[in-house]
């Protein structure tokens, strides 16, 4: 069965992962900018990273027949250095001209600090100014509920943000309801330990009626699984859900959200 991986950090993965994802039915991959596991010291480092996301990684994915898209930002983990963050923000408009950029992301909060909030506000302003979609990272573990609420406050305070053009990712059982109630899209991230498992994700999908939801693996350099979405699809099949229902969630929903960007093309239309 086909699916879209709407959130995968492929710069951290091997080409074997691209092959495995293609064999599992992946039709397109979207890669948000994120933290490399260490703090980069200069804006030049981010310039190279944005080149990697917009130029190199699409070529690597294409070898397996996979369209590759990306999102741009400085991750909240690196937002404490306000000077660096401002310098990186100044780079982004040039890269928004690339044909595979979907929007600004994954922006958000990590430890819910004042500096993280200021840089989040600047990212949101940038997205509004350039009419870009927004992909939001919500904090980890005990910081998630508070951070999710602060992020939604920032998005609402910005005034011109349309909730249907924002996906708030890494929701769990205690945050998904508030996110959907406020009109945003919700992303459920499937991690072996620290976010939702495929089984819990399917429980959430059975419990919340909204169609504004997608599943992603957020596979990166840490403990994560690039085949997590197909594993969730397998769980749906085990529970007796129809092929059409599964397709609607793991393919139709990402297409519906991402097609709000003029750069995204439904993979089916490319075949």
């Amino acid at each position: 069965m086909r699916y879209i991986e709407p959130h995968g950090h492929m710069v951290s993965r091997t080409t074997d992962d691209y092959q495995a994802m293609a064999l599992a039915g992946c039709a397109a991959i979207c890669e948000p900018a994120f933290w490399a596991g260490f703090d980069r010291k200069t804006a030049d480092g981010f310039y190279d990273y944005f080149c990697q996301l917009t130029q190199h990684e699409p070529k690597r994915a294409a070898k397996y027949g996979l369209p590759h898209y990306c999102w741009l930002c400085i991750n909240p983990k690196e937002s404490e250095d306000m000077k660096l963050a401002d310098d990186v923000l100044a780079l982004i408009p040039e890269f928004l001209k690339a044909k595979t950029v979907l929007g600004i992301g994954e922006i958000g909060l990590n430890k819910n600090t004042r500096n993280e909030m200021r840089i989040l506000e600047k990212h949101v302003e940038l997205a509004v100014k350039h009419d870009q979609l927004i992909l939001v990272h919500t904090p980890h573990l005990e910081d998630k509920r508070k951070g999710t609420r602060l992020i939604m406050d920032v998005l609402k305070a910005a005034g011109k943000v349309k909730p249907e053009r924002v996906i708030i990712d890494h929701v769990e059982e205690h945050t998904i309801g508030e996110v959907l109630d406020q009109g945003f899209w919700a992303g459920i991230t499937l991690y072996p330990e620290s976010k939702a498992t495929p089984v819990r994700a399917v429980d959430m999908l059975e419990n919340f009626a909204s169609q504004r939801v997608w599943l992603n693996s957020a596979c990166d350099w840490g403990h994560s699984d690039p085949l997590a979405v197909p594993k969730a699809m397998q769980e749906m099949r085990r529970r007796g859900h129809s092929a059409a229902a599964i397709d609607s969630l793991v393919y139709g929903n990402p297409v519906r959200f991402l097609s709000q960007s003029p750069n995204f093309q439904d993979p089916q239309a490319l075949r």
């Binding site: 983990k77 430890k111 004042r114 909030m117 509920r145 919340f208 169609q211 085990r238 969630l249």
Partner: protein
């Protein structure tokens, strides 16, 4: 397009069917948790705040209702609402350290 998620709605499964699908998975996780608590029992030193949070969540498992996961996640969450001035770490521990 409708805003209705095609998986949502009353589960069409019996409890036997759910147990057939997921009992063994839950069984091994419960035994792993028991083993973790046994390991802690044999260790020395004061109780870690994460373990305190885990123990505080255990009674929620025995309550009725269908939102145990959300209740536990709420229990472990930072209850404050204002941004903090500065963080002393990038990492989260899994349980709000102030939980009593």
């Amino acid at each position: 397009m409708s805003d209705s998620n095609p998986l949502a709605g009353t589960p069409r499964r019996t409890r036997d069917q759910v147990a057939d699908l997921h009992f063994m998975d839950a069984r091994f996780k419960l035994l792993d948790l028991a083993a973790f608590l046994d390991r802690l029992e044999k260790a020395s030193g004061p109780e870690d705040h994460r373990v305190r949070g885990l123990r505080a969540a255990l009674p929620l498992l025995l309550q009725s209702g269908d939102d145990r996961v959300a209740q536990i996640l709420h229990l472990w969450s930072d209850p404050s609402v204002a941004p903090i001035e500065k963080a002393d770490t990038k990492a989260a521990s899994g349980v709000w350290p102030g939980l009593k």
